[in-house]
């Protein structure tokens, strides 16, 4: 139930994200979700992509340093209080969120929340126990 995420190390320089998106575009790789974490000096671009291996290959060829890690994708109805319901469960079960980001799925009216947990397996079972819908890679078009 875990989703593979690619993180890329970037210096805070003009055009670096553009460069990555161009490389992925040229390689016909679709970015399904994306978030950028940054400090004043560097950033980490985290992405869910439709083709993990190809992404790793094309970015490494261009000397980017990257890391693959597991995240959990949770489906919630796209309406007020959707995220809060999930966070309430996590809070109650004392599961810490390292970081998270969200994106929306058309045409269904759903939001997908991407969570990074210290222990993704434990988080998945807790979420499922509470009837929260955890999405699989296939559902996000990841291969």
């Amino acid at each position: 139930m875990k989703i593979r995420q690619i993180s890329v190390f970037l210096e805070n320089k003009v055009g670096r994200i553009l460069e990555i998106t161009e490389i992925l575009g040229e390689s016909n790789i679709n970015i399904r979700a994306l978030s950028l974490a940054d400090t004043s000096d560097f950033g980490i671009l985290r992405m869910i992509v439709n083709d993990i291996e190809k992404t790793k290959r094309v970015l490494k060829e261009r000397d980017f340093i990257l890391k693959e890690s597991f995240v959990v994708a949770v489906e919630v109805p796209d309406k007020p209080g959707g995220l809060a319901a999930v966070l309430r469960v996590l809070g109650k079960e004392n599961i810490n969120v390292e970081y998270m980001y969200a994106f929306f799925e058309k045409p269904q009216d759903r939001a997908l929340l991407i969570f990074r947990f210290e222990d993704p397996d434990q988080a998945v079972s807790v979420l499922q126990k509470h009837g929260i819908n955890v999405a699989e890679e296939e559902k996000l078009g990841v291969r």
Binding site: S7, F9, A37, D41, F42, I44, D63, F64, I65, K67
Partner: protein, 432 residues
Amino acid sequence: MIWNKERESLSDGKKSVLQSEQLKSLVSRVYEVIPFYRAKFDKQGIHPKDIRSIMDISKLPFTTKDDLRENYPFGMFAVPMERVVEIHTSSGTTGKPVIGGYTNSDIDMWSEVMARCLTMSGTTENDIVQNAYGYGLFTGGLGVHYGARKIGANVIPISGGNTRRQIMILQDFESTIITCTPSYSLYLAEVGEELGIDFNKISLKAGNFGAEPWSENMRKEIEARLHLLALDIYGLTEIIGPGVANECMHKSGVHICDDHFYPEIINPQTGEQLEPGEVGELVITTLTREATPLIRYRTRDITSLIPGKCSCGRTSVRMRRIMGRTDDMLIIRGVNVFPSQIEEILVKYEGLEPHYQIVVDRVGSMDELAVCVEMNEKLISDEIKELEIVEKRIRSEIESTLGIKVAVQLVEPKSIERSEGKAKRVIDKRKI
């Protein structure tokens, strides 16, 4: 294995007699034929007859790089031009280069000392020496070449650069010895790894790495990645080129060929001679050089001589790794900083490539020190806090070693300029 057992394992008494004779003859020769030395001796009130043994060397004046520049190009030559068979210069990018001239006998001596150095890394007539030092005016290429020829090894004069071809030749010719700068050896490892080369399967067994300062940790890195024995070779254009000194397999300092090059360590401020073990500036007298002999040449290299005998059987005096140079020593807020101190810290971090750059700048009236370190696969995390921990650990270790504040910046791989020769480690933007 010792190339010249007799000369490399002289007893103290025999060595002193030999060096004394060599010094006396050198001093009278330079006094006779080099006006610069005659004037300098006269000014100091010293005459060749005052030099009776090697112990008297401290009475002699020093020679500096500025002296060589002022006598450019041929003012320091001690033989007529028709006896000179070769000339080399330093790679100096500022001002006029420093010149070394060689007679036939100097080339023989150079071949001899380089044969000793290469023998220390295990080179024999059965070896294939891939010589990746630059050929040309730079002494590195031809110095190693002459030594390898003297041993009777098969020398491949590939010269520097063209890394992919270097790797192809390494594989195809099955080179067993490599000679290049330590930073270039890591560049070779890096490119080789990218090409999917397993250095464990390559015939290389040893390398003589020099022409720039490096550290013990860098040795570990080179040995682990290239799967060879990495030994330090020391030399400088003014004295002969490579061949002044080399480490033996015991890796406990470089053995100076002291039957040709007499070393002293001095206090760079006062010029006073220091005891073995004390750190100071290395000063060398070329006891046997014909074309461009030098009396007490100030190398600006900071090191110390090692007391005691080496277990390899050689009695030639040993010297520690060069810790830095009196002229690349950075003074930041009054603190002496050697780039090698920072390198020692960086390479301790597992997975950290020793690709770094030290940037010194003056902001207002304060000097600021920044160290850029290249990111790599082992350090990357998807969490900012993990990377901030890495930065912080490096920063606090540098700060506690140097005693000054430093900014550490993680940068993208390959963003620090790679030269195929000497690595540009320090950028000093201060205008003082």
